[in-house]
Amino acid sequence: MAISAIMQMQFVYILVASLILLTVSNILSVFSRRHKIAFFGTIAFLFISLTATALLYASNASFYFFSIFHTNAFSEFFFMFFAIAIIMVETLSYKYSHELPAFSLLLSLVTFGVFLVTFAYSLIAILVGLETVALASTFMIIMNGKRFVEPAVKLFILSAISIAIFTFALALLLPYDPQLTLSLPGTSQAGSYLLGLSLILFAGALSLDAAAFPFNLWVPDVYEGSPSNVTALLASVNKKVSFIAILEVFIIIFAAYRSSFGTPLFSLVFFFLSIFTMFFGNLVALVQKNLKRLFAYSSISQAGYIFIGIAVASTAGIQASIFYIVSHMFMIIGAFAIVLWLESKSIRNIDECTGLASKNSFAAISLTILMLSMAGIPPLVGFIGKFLLFSSAVYANDAVLAFIGIINSFISIYYYAKVINQMYTRRQGKKMQMDKNIAIVVIVCLIFVIAVGIYPQILISAASSAASALGAV
């Protein structure tokens, strides 16, 4: 069925309208203080925007709108998955947030920020989108009470610094492209130092958001300090949005800016970022005692894996990174959903997980599967992602990266096994019931992790069309 351009534009209108209505309905629910309205309104409008995006995706839409946005396979692909992630976070928060209307309002702001970043055709849109996401999640943390001020302030300051550097980097690009569009600035200036400085600043700003090696010390503190439903949002949406920004900025704008080795300069930067991030995350995770800190460090190391594909800078590499971003989104939401439930039973440390299998075998089995997937054990989705990443690295003559990645997945099995070991220690205890909303989210994540792991073809081809829509190098 061929869908005309007018129809496609209507889908865009529906998408934007649903986002606006999402915000409006949440503002109303904040005043009426009805939890149910907030919850079902948010879910319903997010589903509408998800459907509109899916229809756009199915009709192969690719055009510009409102002069700073464009829609293509890349943006639609990611917005769909972000919408699913946000729906899952909202589901998680149903019983776990005392101010659900306000939370949902902030969540709709996050959705709006994600929309700006994924559909951006202008660096300004990316800047505003990142800022919106960061600010909204800061408020989500702080509204839970006084003891959450510290992580919120940490997150706020860090994102403020990141935005400041981002703005400076943006300013340096101005001479080359006054419109600041997401396109290749004339290749004639390829050797310019100004452009190089801008690249480095962009790398700094975005790796601060994405928690790459030297800029990641805030992650464990903020993750541990925040309520777990917000942590799930931070780990899945906030962090992944900055990966989208990285992909858009570097693969499109700096694709032609080459280092003296002939490879793109950004690929060299991410080569080192990737190695250090993987090692740092994994080695520090080895000694963690708190579950949330463990997953914080583990997600740092997972960011390192994603950087492998960006460092490789080939179509295969970008495709692998996109695949891994999406798969990690599901793995980490599932993991933090279980952590949220455990926290409500006042289980915070790994030692306290003892005998979880006999108290609630579903939680133990799901956490095991999610962790095995993060460690890259087949036939789960994490393995397919790592196989794509490592093989793209070897193919681009970066065997070192693949080797270090494999060594790191080997290290990571140690700390995951530590948790698994604790959970299956035999100890009689009374059964613990899992809330339905958490169970639903965990089941969705598990289905994704197992089904895509067993039959990955669909997601791989979707990731590949997203990568080619990005105009990968």
Partner: protein, 468 residues
């Protein structure tokens, strides 16, 4: 034909069924393994009639990477599949002597069944790796959840060694994937695609794969996970660990030694290493007191001798190695079943404490004795045929020196008779609880003993279809 796919689909369906229902998981596991056994026996008869085994099936999998869901059955995989399905059936039927945590044990067993069946059937290295890891994860939980007192350390050691092995394996497979013409990972076409790769890649890949399989087999000095893992695992765990899991490595060795032409350059050094390994384990076994640990060490000796025969790289050596894997799997499963039964009856595993158990547990004691005879290669048992073929093959490659590792078997035999004397047929010291043996366990003994003798007396069933 979807017969090979059905072999993998059956345990997957049963696994789903067992996860959804809460009852009768033990029987479900038994049925699942029994169906597989029936299919494999059918395949065996089919192959005997046709005098060769070769079935290939291919399904679409990850088409954008050029990786298909290729299943292939050849004589090597048929023999190993036969061994693994017999052991799995017996394990499911009679391995859970204590009848505790039956649901977990059965689910893990069927999970392992998926791994083992898939590994021996995989037609490309990608599937090989996937099933390899499923086959490693299931025993990890068999040790960690169902094991005995020291299970934590043992499972840790096991998973670290095995995941390191699979990391090496993954790197090797990625190298083959990148450098093979047309990104072909096909196992059958491995030698032709290897011949078109640069020499350094071939060497690197060979070393990576060899180390991975060496850890799994295991060969000295990378063997130290095995005694702990086998000792601490549940009876079911020990049976599938030493019966089937160690054959993953053996299967891999058969693949790389028949595919890599450069294996000739290394085979002598590997042979020396495996002789050292056999004697090292034979000397260590004399210091052991735990009856499960003793059986575990026999695995190292036997697998080292199998490795030695594979390095001969001639037909007889490879035949012998394959047959020895069949023989050893059956025998060691039998011995672990008997050892588990002894442990259950007397709540004791140390041979210093066990005295005169033959008086109380007659059947188990004699079964254990037959196991010892079979593992040392007494005629009429499968071990004899395997040893003859292996050593004839080795003599063809190394001359008279090839008999050296035979002495490790002599050492092993001597020590085992000492064990029998000391704890099985010695005078009874104190009254012990009567050792009741369930009928399921008797059937288990009977099936394993019958297959040991059938393949020992009429080896032509297997030897006629082997075609390496």
């Amino acid at each position: 034909m979807t017969i090979l796919l059905s072999l993998i689909a059956v345990p997957i369906l049963f696994l789903a069924l067992m996860l959804l229902t809460k009852r009768r998981s033990g029987s479900l596991a038994t049925i699942s393994t029994f169906i597989s056994l029936v299919i494999v026996v059918y395949l065996l008869i089919f192959s005997i009639i046709n005098k060769s085994a070769s079935i290939n099936e291919s399904y679409s999998y990850i088409s954008s990477l050029g990786i298909g869901f290729d299943l292939s059955l050849n004589s090597i995989s048929l023999v190993l599949l036969l061994m693994s399905s017999i052991i799995l059936f017996v394990t499911a039927l009679s391995g859970n002597i204590k009848k505790e945590m039956e649901r977990t044990a059965s689910i893990l067993l069927v999970l392992f069944q998926i791994g083992a069946t898939g590994l021996f059937l995989s037609g490309n290295l990608f599937l090989f790796f996937i099933f390899w890891d499923i086959g490693v994860i299931a025993p990890f939980f068999m040790i960690n959840i169902l094991g005995s007192a020291n299970r934590r350390n043992a499972s840790y050691k096991f998973i670290i060694y095995e995941i390191f092995a699979s990391a090496l394996l993954l790197f090797g497979i990625i190298l083959i994937y990148i450098f093979a013409p047309g990104h072909s990972l096909s196992i059958a076409g491995l030698s032709s695609s290897l011949s078109q790769m640069p020499m350094y890649v071939q060497q690197l890949t060979f070393i990576l794969l060899f180390l991975a399989f060496m850890i799994n087999m295991p060969i000295f000095p990378l063997h130290s996970w095995l005694p702990d893992a086998h000792t601490e695992a549940s009876t079911q765990g020990s049976m599938v660990l030493s019966g089937i899991l160690t054959k993953f490595g053996g299967f891999g060795m058969l693949i790389i030694f028949t595919s890599f032409t450069i294996a000739h350059n290394y085979s002598f050094y590997i042979a020396v290493l495996s002789v050292v390994s056999a004697f090292y384990a034979a000397l260590l076994i004399m210091r052991q007191h735990d009856i499960k640990r003793i059986v575990a060490y026999t695995t190292i000796i036997e697998m080292s001798i199998i490795m030695f025969a594979i390095t001969a790289m001639n037909t007889l050596g490879l035949y012998g190695a394959l047959f020895a894997m069949l023989a050893h799997g059956l025998v060691v499963a039998l011995m672990f079943l008997a050892a588990g039964s002894i442990e259950h009856a007397f709540s004791e595993r140390s041979i210093d404490v066990l005295k005169g158990i033959a008086a109380d547990a007659k059947l188990t004691s004699y079964v254990f004795l037959v196991g010892i005879l079979a593992i040392t290669g007494v005629p009429l048992t499968t071990g004899f045929i395997a040893d003859v073929a292996m050593f004839l093959g080795a003599i063809g490659a190394y001359g008279a020196y090839a008999v050296i590792p035979l002495f490790s078997l002599v050492l092993l035999g001597g020590f085992m008779y000492y064990v029998v004397n000391k704890s099985i047929f010695s005078t009874k010291e104190r009254t012990q609880s009567s050792a009741f043996i369930g009928s399921s366990q008797k059937i288990g003994y009977a099936i394993l003993l019958a297959s040991i003798f059938i393949f020992g007396i009429i080896p032509s069933i297997i030897l006629n279809i082997i075609n390496i």
